[in-house]
């Protein structure tokens, strides 16, 4: 019996004792010894891909940050609206493109920059990158058939500093700059080129797959970024040191940045609570400890992503698909989601309403929370609303095409397990929907994307109704937030198979038209048409950094980290 009693106590006592351990606040001395340091320690998963050409399976965010610290991209972006086409002129290696030929040709001029070994960055380095990706595009994670570089008719080098792309058809310049040119990273041709692009790519890939040699392999010694790699422990700590020969304007203030991985959120948070790292994050479940960390000398900063969050509807579900195809029903369901209150109360202010496909501040949504209006809408369309019961279709002619008399409004939402706020959010949504007789069954699974694929109505895997995978944001955009991958008919991430000819037309316009208002028109249409149900958009991360650390904010909405901006308050 003793063993059983111990087991019995296990579930509860661990929790209870944690309270005792963790509940004490405010009596620890403030960790204020950071000032004057020249190093910052950052909670950061160990990157495992150094080559600035992304490879399938190695596209994690930390790899992009790591790679960008060592090799600058042709264009950096900032989304504060301060510069045309969102180009960050300070960090970019080239001037903004000059557009000609009816928008088909973009001529780009490189600025004066050098590699860490003193050699200038020239169009040879762009040509080298181009040759590598065009001859090995099937091994490039950013490649999509028909996309870059397939959509390029001609790549032409004019001189050491100038090159141009001519596209097969005219694109919206902002789209092309934000979503295509963002992939270009000049590579050190003089140090890496072995003659044949295939051979060179194979050699580089082989070297990139050997992380233990990252810090020692001469291949990785020549970089263009503000940092160089001083130490690399596979699955362990990584140390970046200031690149003394860095030619860019944003020279690092710190001498070193230590990237320290943790086995999980709990271990990271315990170290953060102990004040042993300078920059970390608060796992969403521990948001309530915000004030404790502030008392320990940390600044808490929500990191807003360039993202949207939504509840995917399966239009191809043979049973519930015909229901979702009724615009009035989508509107009624949207009116039952109290985004502002959920964002404030359940997400503790660390989320904001999503109003449409283009990220926004979450104000002025087309459909505000209004259960009464939702009820009226359903009743006006032939539904017999039974509050806290089961609403059913009473008049099939009014309910809409494919909806039979007696059909119930009952859906199963496949959500993510492991996120307390998400569970609470769906408890609230279920409660609101129950008030108008819409039965929502919540099924939590570890990977909701995997079990809710895009499907055809006759496939067995098409039985899912609604899918949520936005506990940390559903979709992060590149600089130009167009919807060709999300909401266009047959788009790769259009999991619910939404299809609307008008939406397709507007998405095409946003991608190909030179009309600057095309994106707004697309956003306005889809915000109202509701291809998905818009949901509170959580922040990418709740960052916590030592108050003496400057330059962390504003954090990049496109999820990059610029350690060179960081410094300690003197």
């Amino acid at each position: 019996m003793g063993t059983r009693i111990r087991i019995a106590c296990g579930v509860a006592v661990v929790g209870l004792s944690l309270t005792a351990c963790g509940g004490t606040t405010g009596n620890s001395s403030q960790q204020g010894g950071s000032q004057g340091k020249d190093t910052a320690t950052v909670a950061f998963r160990t990157p495992n891909w150094i080559l600035p050409i992304s490879a399938p399976g190695f596209t994690q965010g930390e790899n992009d940050i790591f790679s960008t610290a060592l090799y600058r991209k042709l264009y950096s972006y900032k989304l504060d609206g301060s510069s045309p086409d969102n180009i960050d002129p300070r960090r970019s290696l080239a001037e903004a493109p000059a557009v000609s030929d009816g928008g088909r040709t973009l001529t780009i001029t490189l600025k004066d920059n050098t590699w860490s070994d003193g050699k200038p960055i020239t169009t040879k380095d762009i040509q080298f990158w181009w040759d590598l990706v065009t001859t090995n595009k099937d091994k490039w994670a950013s490649y999509r058939p028909g996309g870059f570089p397939d959509n390029i008719e001609e790549f032409k080098v004019k001189d050491d500093k100038t090159f141009s792309f001519t596209t097969k058809k005219a694109y919206n310049t902002a789209w092309f700059i934000g979503n295509q040119l963002n992939r270009i990273v000049p590579l050190p041709q003089h140090a890496w080129d072995k003659g044949d692009p295939k051979t060179t790519f194979a050699a580089l890939t082989t070297a990139a797959k050997d992380p233990k040699s990252y810090a020692t392999d001469p291949l990785w010694k020549v970089g263009s970024g503000p940092w160089k790699l001083e130490k690399y422990v596979p699955n362990g700590e990584v140390v970046l040191a200031k690149q003394d020969t860095y030619s860019g304007p944003d020279k690092p203030s710190l001498n070193k940045v230590v990237l320290r991985p943790f086995t999980g959120d709990d271990s990271e948070f315990n170290v953060l609570r102990a004040g042993q790292i300078d920059y970390g994050y608060i796992p969403p479940a521990n948001l309530s400890q915000k004030s404790y960390l502030e008392s320990k000398g940390y600044t808490i900063s929500p990191w807003y992503g360039w993202s949207i969050t939504y509840l995917q509807l399966n239009y191809n579900n043979p049973k519930t698909g015909p229901l979702f195809k009724q615009p009035y029903l989508r509107q009624a369901l949207q009116m039952l989601i109290d985004q502002p209150t959920i964002s404030k109360v359940i997400w503790g202010g660390m989320a904001s309403p999503t109003c449409g496909p283009v990220p926004s501040k979450g104000e002025g949504c087309a459909y505000s929370f209004d259960p009464e209006k939702a009820r009226q809408l359903l009743e006006a369309n032939g539904w017999k609303v039974t509050p806290d019961g089961q609403t059913t279709c009473e008049d099939a002619a009014k309910c809409g095409e494919g909806v039979e008399k007696g059909a119930p409004l009952a859906f199963t939402v496949t959500s993510q397990s492991g996120f307390t706020a998400t569970s609470k959010m769906f408890a609230e949504i279920k409660s609101q929907m129950a008030k108008v007789g819409v039965q929502l069954t919540i099924k939590e699974v570890p990977d909701s994307v995997a079990v809710t694929p895009a499907c055809k109505p006759d496939e067995s895997k098409c039985s899912w109704d609604m899918s949520f995978f936005g506990s940390q944001g559903s979709w992060y955009y590149p600089a130009f937030a167009s919807g060709e991958r999300l909401f266009q008919t047959g788009a790769p991430v259009n999991l619910g198979s939404y299809s609307n000819p008008e939406a397709d037309k507007l998405i095409d316009r946003a991608q190909f038209s030179s009309d600057a208002s095309a994106l707004q028109e697309y956003n306005a249409f889809l915000a109202k048409d509701l291809p998905v149900l818009w949901m509170p958009n959580p922040v990418y991360q709740i960052s916590a950094y030592k108050s003496g650390l400057q330059g962390v904010d504003p954090q990049d909405p496109m999820n990059l980290m610029y350690f060179q901006d960081w410094s300690w308050k003197s």
Binding site: M1, V11, A12, S288, I346, S417, A427, I442, E444
Partner: protein, 306 residues
């Protein structure tokens, strides 16, 4: 329980007293006396009765809305008007939720524990009585299933199907019967060689009758004691699954899920979301363990006063 059973359990042989009602009442009384002598067992019964009454009768005295959330009333402190134990992160009354959670935990615990006991007993009795290749095959199935961690299987099943109360009962019951099966099989191996079983077979009794009338009834002591532990374990399994976010979805509740939610609120000082479900789980599991100990004493012949 029939007369014959009690008699056989007592001394392992038929005797003339098997129809003697007085003798049976005596056995019951003796058993009750032994049980009552075990003070912890009585405490266990008391705790269980109190928790069951709290969970099932409590809502009659404390009415609360456990269907609709109320985001305007989240994290109200205990003692707030209408909320003696405060409210949780979506505005549910915590006392009412504790009652609702108790219903799920007790129902699933009892049903899954009993299901596991019944399945395990039948499986073990057949395997032990039949022996030979039947026993070998049946017990290898048990061994194979036991080699996979139960919690892993529960998580897998809970991830595949939408957890509901009946589903949880089936999932837990479907994997928790392995222990009783091994236990009863051991008993059956001994019982099948007893004279009265051999005599019955010699008189043309079937194997099914032997299992039904002799093996299972004579192993009933072991089975009942084990059942209490199975119930306690099932309540814990529900708690584990809910703790991992794989329990019954809202607005249903159970103590494990409440504990899990409460844990995430630990550091914000919302102690009323953590301690009540935690203490309730400890109490009910202890209660069943105490009862199990008491029942073990009851079925332990040597402890009876003659």
């Amino acid at each position: 329980m029939n007369d014959e059973t009690r008699d056989e359990t007592h001394d392992g042989a038929h005797d003339e007293a098997h129809d003697d009602g007085t003798r049976v009442r005596g056995l019951w009384r003796q058993g009750l006396e032994v049980f009552v002598d075990n003070r912890l067992a009585l405490v266990g019964v008391g705790i269980f009765v109190l928790l069951a009454a709290f969970s099932f009768l409590g809502p009659l005295f404390h009415d609360s809305d456990q269907v609709h959330t109320d985001l305007a009333s989240v994290y109200l402190s205990p003692g707030t008007a209408g909320h003696p134990l405060g409210t949780d992160g979506v505005g549910y009354d915590q006392l009412g939720r504790l009652m609702l959670g108790g219903q799920t935990s007790i129902v699933v615990g009892l049903a899954a524990g009993l299901l596991a006991t019944v399945v395990g007993t039948v499986w073990g009795a057949i395997a032990g009585f039949a022996g030979g290749w039947v026993d070998a095959v049946m017990m290898r199935v048990v061994d194979a299933m036991m080699s996979i961690p139960a919690l892993f299987l529960f998580m897998l099943m809970a991830a595949i199907v939408t957890p509901t109360v009946p589903m949880l009962i089936v999932i837990i019951g479907a994997f928790a019967w392995l222990g009783p099966a091994r236990l009863v099989r051991g008993e059956a191996l001994t019982l099948r060689t007893r004279e009265y079983v051999l005599a019955m077979r010699g008189m043309g009794g079937t194997g099914g009758r032997a299992v039904r009338r002799h093996i299972i009834p004579n192993a009933i002591g072991t089975v009942i004691v084990n059942a209490t532990f199975q119930i306690a374990d099932a309540i814990l399994y529900v708690a584990y699954l809910s703790f991992l976010g794989l329990g019954v979805p809202p607005p249903a509740a159970n103590w494990g899920g409440m504990l899990s939610d409460g844990l995430s609120d630990t550091f914000s000082g919302h102690w009323w979301l953590l301690y009540p479900p935690g203490i309730a789980i400890i109490l009910i599991v202890l209660a069943f363990n105490f009862i199990g100990d008491g029942l073990r004493d009851v079925f332990e012949v040597r402890l009876r006063r003659r």
